[in-house]
Structure formats: C-alpha cells, structure tokens
Symmetry: C2
Subunit: 360 residues, 2 copies
C-alpha cells in the first residue's frame, strides 16, 4: 500500500460539476431543508412550493446522490443477488434474460442491481453479511429456492427483506415470505391433458434428479395429469435422474424398447428432450407422428430442431422483472406476505406432438 502524501491529488474533476441540492435551493430562494422535504413528500410543504421545486429540479436536471442519502437514511436503492457458482447447470442460457429483467425493472424505479457469488453456504453467508454491513444493498433476490432454504432462514433471522424465486413450502400456509413462482405442476398437467386429448394412452415421463425441488413438482404434475385424464400411472414409464441430453436419449431408448412402449414422452427439461431427437434419427422414427414429445423450459435450441419441440416457454425476463418489482414494493413498506405471484408457463407448440399413429 503506497503512502499518501499530505496533499492527495484529487484526480481531474473536470467533468462539469453536478447540481447539488443547495444549488437547487439557491435557485429557488429556499433552503435545502425545504427542498429536501418537498422532494421527499413531507406533508408540511405547501402544494405550490412542492410543484415549484419539482419543476425546477427537472429543469436543472437535479438527481440526488444515493450515497449521500444513504448516509442518513441507510437505504441505497440497490437490490442484491447472490449467484450460486456450484449450480450444476450454470443457470443455462436463462441468466442473461433473468438479469435483464431485474435490471430493466429496477432501472425504471431508479434502483440498481448488485450481484455477488458464492460457492458454498458459508461463503454465501459471509458475502451477504459483508454486503449488508457495508450497506451496499437494501434487500435480496434469491434464485433457485430449495425446500427449507437456508438462505431464507439466514435472512429472516437478520430481518433483511428478500424475495424468492420459487416457494419454499408448498401446500403449507406461507411463512410470510414474498415469492414469485412458475406453476411447474400445472404445466405438466396441461401437457398430459393435451396429449390425452390427442388420443395418447401410454405417456412416459422423464425427469431430473429428485434432489431438485422442481423435479418433484413436475413429476407430481405428470401424475396428477394422468389421474385427471383417467389414465393409469405405470411406474415403468417414469424415469428420473436424467439431466443431460445424452441421458435423455438413453431414457428414450429404454422406453421404446419396452414390450408396450409409450406413444408420447413428456420430458421435464428441453435439454433432455433433445436426446429423443437423436434416438428418433437412429431408429427412423418421425417425431410428431411415430413419437410425440413435449418438453419444458423453452430453450432457444428447441425452436431450431426439426420439427420444433413443443415446450413450455419459461419467461426468465419476466420472472426477473417481477421479482425486482416485488422486492422494491417490499422495501417501500408493503407487507411481504401480500407480495406473492404464481404464473403459468405458456405452451409454445412446435410440431413434436400429434395424434398417435394408429396401430394396425
């Protein structure tokens, strides 16, 4: 660390000086305390004065410096996001959209996003603690909520506002947290309903490792869909622990080699569903006729295969935007228990599903 001589060179502050609240006050013939209260909506300012101040502020391009405000208020208008580096799929191709959604929404309200990362729980706690201690963020967005999420417990204990992407406990009454979630089970039910309406009677399901919360939710939706459609649940047609494209292909081979193979396969993720395309090519099966497929996620590649994969298009951008909006509302005083949103993932029909070829 280099020594600092008595007179520290200050860098050239040649950029035109920004307008401060005192400049604004002087221009208006008021004191800065009045201007501050006018701008912050205090009730002891005359409406006419408030309007004058607002107008002049806009005219002079005045914008308060959040850091200076933070010294007094403790709020910096910054949202925090902690990425988990040990996430096996690196958040796939969705991270950019997700971040875009958060930042665009935050930007509209004059907030910003501070991101950090951690590769273990202890590191996460250290990171969060530092961000809070340094007053760099006002609240957190938690992606990838798990059942009984340690982050939620940690932040709750510290009375730090946060919103979760995904609910921690399903069915049970909420713990008063704020969340945004996509109806995974509902999408799977809708897929089964769709396939059953087309005439499919044996529909298989291929899902990710059961350690993922969403894997269980989607599997439950599959089973519920079968029940709704009046179809029996055959355990042979349900394969879990499938994460990669190649594993998805392997699952398809096993299913098609059954004595009574399914006519349709519902994949819990697009990435694994693409493996079925490889198998279809191997075996000369026409997807959408000989074998129907439906995926989930809406990854870009799903549109590019032939025929395009029918899937549920998760809108990461929208998720990010809503999460930001929910957190900002909470930071402005809304009760977190009121800030919950459950949305449906819309179906994006490709050509990968159709009526089963009638056996003759």
């Amino acid at each position: 660390m280099e020594e600092i001589r008595r007179t520290k060179s200050h860098g050239d502050k040649s950029r035109t000086r920004r307008v401060r609240i005192s400049d604004l006050a002087q221009a208006l013939g008021l004191t800065k305390s009045t201007v501050s209260r006018a701008l912050n909506g205090y009730s002891d300012i005359a409406p006419t004065t408030r309007a004058r101040v607002a107008k002049m502020a806009a005219q002079m391009g005045y914008a308060p410096m959040p850091y200076a405000q933070a010294v007094r208020t403790g709020r910096v208008r910054a949202l925090g996001l902690v990425l988990e580096l040990d996430a096996p799929d690196r958040y796939g191709p969705f991270l950019a959209d997700f971040l875009g959604g958060i930042t665009q929404e935050a930007s509209l309200e004059g907030w910003t996003l501070t991101v950090s990362s951690s590769s273990s729980r202890s590191e996460m706690e250290a990171t969060v603690t530092r961000l809070l201690q340094e007053h760099k963020v006002d609240g957190f967005i938690l992606p990838r909520t798990q059942v009984d999420d340690p982050r939620a417990a940690f932040l709750s204990a510290k009375h730090v506002p946060f919103v979760m992407f995904g609910r921690t406990d399903h069915g049970r009454p909420d713990a008063g947290h704020s969340w945004y979630d996509i109806d995974n089970a509902g999408a799977m039910r809708a897929a089964i309903t769709r396939l059953a309406a087309m005439g499919h009677r044996r529909i298989a399901f291929v899902g990710p490792p059961a350690s993922f919360n969403f894997a269980l939710l989607r599997r439950d939706g599959y089973r519920e869909g079968l029940a709704q459609a009046g179809l029996a649940h055959d355990p042979v047609l349900e394969i879990m622990e499938v994460a990669e494209r190649e594993e998805g292909a392997e699952a398809a081979r096993r299913l098609l080699d059954l004595p009574d193979p399914p006519s349709a396969i519902l994949y819990a993720t697009d990435a694994t569903a693409l493996g079925a395309y490889d198998v279809a090519r191997e075996r000369g099966l026409e997807i959408g006729r000989d074998l129907s497929l439906i995926g989930y996620d809406g990854i870009p590649e799903a549109r590019l295969v032939t025929p395009p994969l029918t899937t549920f298009a998760v809108d990461s951008h929208h998720a990010g935007a809503r999460l930001a909006a929910l957190l900002i509302a909470q930071l402005r005083g809304t009760d977190p228990a009121e800030l919950t949103e459950l949305v449906e993932a819309p179906l994006r029909a490709g050509g990968s599903d159709g009526p089963p070829r009638t056996r003759e």
Copy 2:
C-alpha cells in the same frame, strides 16, 4: 406517492449498531481524524499509532461504510457491467462463470459488482450516464468488445475508467485502453498445427458470421496455420456464416460431399461442431478416425458427446477475475496502457481428432 407525516417511522433498527469510526477513536483515545488518516495510509501518522489503530480496528470489527466515504471521496468501490440484451447468443452458458470470476476477485479486494443491461446503444448511454451521475460505480467492464466499439468511445470522452474484454484494434498501437483478450487466432493456428502433425492435408474451417469480430480473427488464425504448415488454402474448404448446431451439420454435409473432401474440420465454435456429430451418425462415420474435429469454446456439452470433442477451453471465470483485477488496478491509479493481458486458450483434447484413415 404517499405523504410522509412529520415524524417518519424509521423501521426497527434493532440490529446491533455497527461500530463507527468515532467508536474506534474513542476506544483508542484518539480523534476520528487521526484514525481515518491512520487507516488510509497517510504519512503523518506515527508507525506505532498506525499499528495500534489497525489492531483495534480488527479487534472491534470496524469496517468503514463505503457510502459515507463516497460522499467525500466520490469513490464507492463498485465495478459496473453493462450486459447487452440484444446479444444473439445470450452469452451462452458462460455468463455465470464470468460473473463469478468478476465478483470473486472484486470481493477479495473489498469491491462489488453492479450490473445493468441495455438493448440498444442509446439505452446503454442512458444507463451508463445514470450510474455515473448517481455515483453508483467507479468504472466499467465492457464485455464483447467490437472493432471500433462505441462504448469505449463514449466512456473515453467522459474520462470514465474501463477495461475491455477483447481488443478494439488489432495490430495498431493501442489507444491507451486497458484490455484482456484471449488469443483466438493463436488457438486456431495451434489447431491446424496439431492436425497437420497428425497427417491431415485437407483441413476445412467452419466459422460464424463475419460480422463478429472473433469470427474474422479465428478465420485468420486458420489461414495462418495453413501457411505455417505449408498447406494450400482452398476457398472451397472455408465456410462462414454458420451459427447454430444444425447449420454446422449442414456445413459438414457440404464438405463431405465434395469430390475431394477434407479429412478434418476445424469449427470456430463448439455448438456448430456438435452438428458434425449428427452427420457422422447419419453416415456411419467414426469421429476421430474417419473424420477429425476440433472446436473452440469448451462448452460443457462438448465433454459429454462420444467421443468428447477436442476443443479450446475458454476460461470465463478467469477472464472475469482478471478483468476485475485490471479495472481495480486502474482505479487505484495504474496507467491503463500498462494494464493489458493476452492469454492463450488451452487445448482440451477429447477423442474427436486423430490421424486420418489412410486411403487405399
């Protein structure tokens, strides 16, 4: 906007009060000005006093509040990153690693990362301007540098420190900017050298649209590699404008249907190289024997195919970390012209390349 009554409720500040510089000063029997100067390395503090202060600060867990410092210094120890939402590939699977690299390095130095996004140039300028005006960041990291990048020009004009991922002008003397880059051309040369050493004489190249800067760089590397190996450059073997897996497959078909087909194909991106696997399966070709392939990027999926794709593993995490380090160094006063780094992408050998099958 709701009215604020005269006495604003302040939220429950029940969390134990943080130690302030004045607490520290009192505990030491010094004034806060002395403590501040001791902590910031001023030369007019006795070494013994400095040590005493440092020790007590550690003991009491004192950490200055960056926002309060910022009011006076104008520096907030925050790096800015502007994502471009219109990037066609959404930064692929690399964004999480890249962000992880930046934030981990920044965190070590006590800095944080503020990200924002834009979907057009004017939006980018507005976003950057707001971040600067609000003093939310001290400098920027620019991903995806293009030739003659408008962002660099914009920030230069405002005298805002920044580092670029990728050089703007190659060959020409630098404009005094700071950058980090991966030697694209060098990797392609190395690939050709490797294939030539294995005995390949006709090596094709499949590259992305020429509007991408890196596409041209990699193509140049291919050509240089051929020249170094003493091989002729056959324009028929060079296919550009290929971005997706399916297009990569199509390119492979065209090349293999030539009267004198190549024995090896160098793909500028892994995603497109995977298309050649589909073609090999179609035609019963054994990859690594009948057809050699080398890719570039090191995407996760490249390890999972059979045989694994030989590729150049770009280390996004490292790139992020180094960019953060370069920017922080610049913000601490180092001349940006001295802060440049060119790294090689290391080869990650799979089994997709080998000696050509001898024609008989």
